[in-house]
Symmetry: C2
Subunit: 173 residues, 2 copies
């Protein structure tokens, strides 16, 4: 069982345009290339994500993002939560541990950047996969948030595709 | 003859810490790995860089960064310029062309992020090499500035090293 994150980012480090338009990403990917996304979906038995990412996911996927246990980090929990969703203001390390105890599979730290970075800083992420898209977006939502201290990672795999997408896989050192 | 940029950046997209401390970079590189830096130095017959990067280079290298023609983009040119250095407020594309006319070798767009990004946006950069360091710096000077429009690049090479450093090479499409 592992805590992992898997996310596509532009070369300049954005995961979402200001408008949420996904053309930059869909236009870069090729149908004949396997970026391991299906595997990522199958690995995950629980999700941890931030409040904004949760709202965006609900807007995108129409409420039922997943039937797996989902933990949403927020300081403003709504009174009611959909089935399977837990709103929590606990620190990310605690939440990740709770998520891991809820599944025999892996836990997907789904983002956004602040949650991902907090998880990395708290040594609560075992594995980070970044699909680096050969595009400069120039603005939007950043993959990584700010850190008080620098954090060394260990590269475990690097695969490039004809599309120009580079899959980077890092382990927490 | 080509216009190129070659720069080391942390995974979260910074090229310099707030303090200018280089331990993050020196600690990540290994003596037995060739990141092509010597080749980069030999290729360049002229340099284009921003005012802040120029000041930092002067502070780091003690005035004589290079004997090659050097063009510094600035809106506040000093009255006197050191030998070989030209301060200019022209747009980056014009300056790059001027630099190319001053040498039979390649032109190195030395940074910082704003100059690099302006050059990319103006299609004035043929080749971008990024040495991606397996470190999250958490803050500092960013590799890329903001862009009004997204910009597609073409991956031409991707090499990973035991140190975890990944050399990415992109061409302007």
């Amino acid at each position: 069982m592992a805590i992992f994150a898997s996310i596509a980012a532009s070369l300049d480090g954005f995961i979402r345009t200001e408008s949420g338009d996904m053309a930059w990403l869909n236009g870069a990917m090729r149908r004949d290339e396997d970026y391991g996304m299906a595997n990522t979906m199958q690995r995950a038995g629980a999700y941890v994500l931030g409040a904004r990412t949760y709202r965006e996911s609900v807007a995108t996927f129409g409420g039922g993002m997943t039937t797996s246990p989902t933990y949403v980090l927020t300081h403003a929990a709504p009174d009611e939560a959909p089935s399977g969703v837990t709103f929590t203001s606990e620190d990310v390390r605690t939440v990740v541990m709770t998520a891991q105890s809820a599944t025999d599979k892996d836990v997907n730290v789904f983002g956004g950047g602040d949650v991902l970075t907090q998880a990395l800083a708290a040594d609560a992420l075992d594995e980070l996969m970044v699909a680096l898209i050969p595009v400069l977006l120039g603005g939007g939502t950043r993959l990584f948030g700010e850190l008080q201290e620098s954090k060394r990672l260990s590269l475990t795999d690097c695969t490039s595709f004809k599309s120009g997408i580079v899959l980077l896989r890092y382990a927490s050192t």
